[in-house]
């Protein structure tokens, strides 16, 4: 039998749309608010509310450690969580190419639902559109997220000299996993993306003197540290030897001439906290699975530069990475 594929009628608003919503969307995202299938979902927002959006276009859609569905939940949940909000509700908009595998699409929705359940968030609204063959390739997902603000972790003015910098996981796994999945440059290996929701981990540290946090996605640790330095007018002194990095990831980066500090993560955040609370924050992070490998990697300085003490005893600057990572020549 030929593989079942996505046709234009799924997004056409007729019977097939209705079947798709019932068979796939409601089956996996099932919850009281969504099941009502209203034109808009009415939410209770009696407190300060955080609102964010993100679009996901990753290729290939499936990679070691996750897929575009899981990623679309983690990305938005993490944006809310690191800003200091408890994620509550998400939207889920699918744009699919005509002819895409129905089975794969179902897997993507299933993973998204599983991740949302794990994170404790509800998918409360959504949309599905199918684009004619050749219009796009594969699947694109947009998610928006609403959360309850617990504290403001995006206040650049709160940083003081001597505050500690923590990275919540080993770095550079997502970028290298996706590169391997693409089969680029003829390398093979078993590196799984770190793609994970960080809201439970963040919840464990909100009540300490945590001042700032941001997830280190595209551009990696290097980009986040530079962004914070630029906006806050502060600087960082980072110890290379304290940055958690897996052996196999380090070696692959070495071989291709990539700086692991510039490689993307999807389950690692930078947290800046007061020096007094640092040990407690670290212990709380380590008590949650996603924060098991958290480490203090440096501190805030008054010198508006991001400086690295290298593993071999030297010193250098960490700069903003270029737009696209390209392997070096020889």
């Amino acid at each position: 039998m030929e593989e079942k594929i996505v046709t234009l009628s799924i997004g056409g608003g007729g019977r097939q749309t209705s079947n798709f919503i019932k068979d796939i969307i409601l089956k996996y995202f099932d919850n009281d608010i969504l099941n009502n299938l209203g034109d808009a979902s009415h939410l209770e927002t009696s407190t300060n509310t955080a609102f964010t959006t993100d679009s996901f276009v990753i290729r290939p859609e499936f990679f070691n450690g996750g897929n575009i569905g899981k990623l679309s939940i983690c990305g938005t949940v993490n944006d809310l969580a690191v800003s200091g909000a408890e994620p509550l509700y998400l939207s889920f908009a699918l744009i699919v190419a005509e002819g895409y595998s129905y089975e794969k699409l179902e897997k993507i929705v299933e993973s998204a639902a599983a991740e949302a359940k794990k994170a404790g968030v509800k998918i409360v609204c959504g949309d599905t559109k199918v684009v004619e063959r050749g219009g796009i390739d594969g699947v694109i997902i947009n998610t928006c997220g609403v959360g309850r603000v617990i504290k403001n972790l995006n206040d650049f003015s709160s940083l003081k000299e001597g505050d500690k910098v923590i990275v919540t996981s080993d770095i550079a796994r997502h970028g290298m996993a996706v590169m391997l999945e693409r089969g680029q440059f003829g390398f093979a290996g078993n590196i799984a993306s770190d793609c994970a929701c960080l809201n439970h981990m963040m919840k464990a540290v909100y009540h300490y003197n945590v001042k700032f946090s941001r997830d280190a996605t595209r551009g990696g640790l290097a980009a986040v540290l530079n962004e914070i330095a630029e906006q806050s007018g502060k600087g960082f002194l980072i110890d290379e030897e304290k940055i958690p990095l897996r052996q196999e990831v380090a070696e692959l980066c070495d071989t291709l001439g990539f700086d692991p500090l510039s490689v993307a993560n999807e389950g690692a955040a930078v947290i800046i906290c007061s020096s007094e609370d640092c040990e407690k924050v670290l212990a709380a992070l380590k008590s949650v699975k996603e924060g098991e490998r958290a480490a203090v990697i440096g501190e805030v300085t008054n010198d508006n530069k991001v400086v690295l003490n290298t593993i071999s005893g030297g010193k250098r600057h960490i700069d903003l990475p270029p737009g696209e990572l390209l392997p070096r020549i020889c």
Binding site: G314, K315, R316, L326, P327, I329, C330
Partner: protein
């Protein structure tokens, strides 16, 4: 276990760094040139300069293959794409601007078929899988990468592929060394010799250097290895006993790789080549032999690099010969940044200006 870890060990590095401080005569300066882009990058990335006394100066020579490729040669990449050819390239070339400021990344965004490969031989697969397209590999590099480019040409001929060619702008080091040695303005004490080039050529490549009274030390790319090589150069400069030392024996045999050299001379012949900033150097280029002419993109598409003056104000030429430091160029970090490079020393990840911009500003 990563075999490189002992060569990154902080204790050992600090120990060698202290030996350098003890050995260096505080009343004079030492000038050491590294002639390999990977060394330039590794020095910057490990923060090596911060571990050397102020009177030991590391100068970057013409060792980044992207940087020494002339503007006329670079413009041919774009001419090929304009003819509808698909190109395969090392990643470094993608950000390099043509005369009109456009890069291969820009061309790709406008629909040109630009493929990044890790090995030149990856081009074979591209060509075999897409027989309706013609692939040209953009062949730049020194003795290190040139054998792989030669292997691509041999493999293409063996397979009888008709839709593949190579634009060879590969270059060799001896003429560049001669030029540096003849430069009266440069007072060098020694050379940190390129480890991977030596893996092909063998250490005899450096005989002219020691004859001219310079230390020649072949080094690996890890911090401890590079520091150890600097220490050796300073010792030689102090004792005036100049000789070749191979400190990279874990990779480099003294006599290099005879098989790779045989492949090189089978496919290429020595030709005169224009180096950015250095001008034309006799017998410093590798052109494709008549026997493989059908794979020579210059012949296949009837191309010839134009003699194009480099962009005004760009001092890459002086940076490449170690006469000025990147920050002495008026364009550095102003008009010329890694996002919008003016000269190739800023484009290549291994370029001196890019390394300074990234790690040392």
């Amino acid at each position: 276990m990563n075999p490189n870890i002992p060569f990154r060990d902080k204790e050992t590095a600090l120990k060698v760094s202290r030996s350098i401080k003890n050995e260096a005569d505080a009343s004079r300066t030492y000038k050491i040139m590294e002639v390999c882009g990977t060394h330039t990058m590794a020095i910057a990335r490990s923060g090596l300069r911060s571990m050397l006394p102020a009177n030991v100066e590391l100068i970057s020579g013409p060792g980044c293959p992207v940087c020494v490729t002339s503007q006329g040669e670079i413009d041919l990449f774009f001419e090929l794409l304009n003819c509808g050819v698909s190109v395969a390239s090392f990643g470094d070339l993608l950000r390099i601007p043509g005369s009109n400021g456009e890069t291969l990344i820009d061309k790709r965004a406008r629909g040109a078929d630009v493929n990044v490969v890790y090995s030149p031989l990856d081009t074979i697969k591209l060509a075999e899988n897409n027989l309706d397209k013609h692939y040209t590999f953009l062949g730049i590099g020194f003795e290190t990468t040139a054998p792989a480019v030669a292997a691509l040409i041999m493999a293409a001929k063996e397979k009888g592929l008709k839709n593949l060619s190579v634009l060879s702008f590969c270059k060799t080091m001896p003429a560049a060394f001669d030029l540096i040695l003849s430069d009266k303005e440069l007072h060098l004490d020694g050379f940190l010799c390129p480890g991977h080039v030596t893996a092909i050529t063998g250490v005899q490549l450096y005989e002219p250097l020691v004859k001219a009274g310079k230390a020649a030390v072949v080094a690996g790319f890890e911090p401890v290895e590079m520091l150890d090589a600097v220490y050796e150069i300073i010792k030689q400069a102090n004792s005036k006993d100049f000789h070749i030392v191979n400190k990279y024996r874990r990779v480099v045999p003294d006599d290099g790789n005879a098989q790779a050299r045989a492949i090189l001379s089978k496919v290429f012949y020595e030709s005169d080549a224009v180096w950015r900033g250095l001008g034309e150097l006799k017998k410093s280029g590798l052109s494709i032999r008549e026997e493989y002419a059908e794979y020579d993109a210059l012949k296949h598409f009837n191309l010839k690099p134009k003699n194009i003056t480099e962009i005004k104000g760009c001092k890459c030429g002086q940076v490449l010969t170690g006469k000025i430091k990147p920050q002495d160029c008026p364009l550095f970090a102003k008009r010329c940044t890694p996002e919008n490079p003016v000269g190739p020393c800023m484009v290549s990840g291994e370029g001196t200006c890019a390394a300074y911009y990234k790690f040392l500003r």
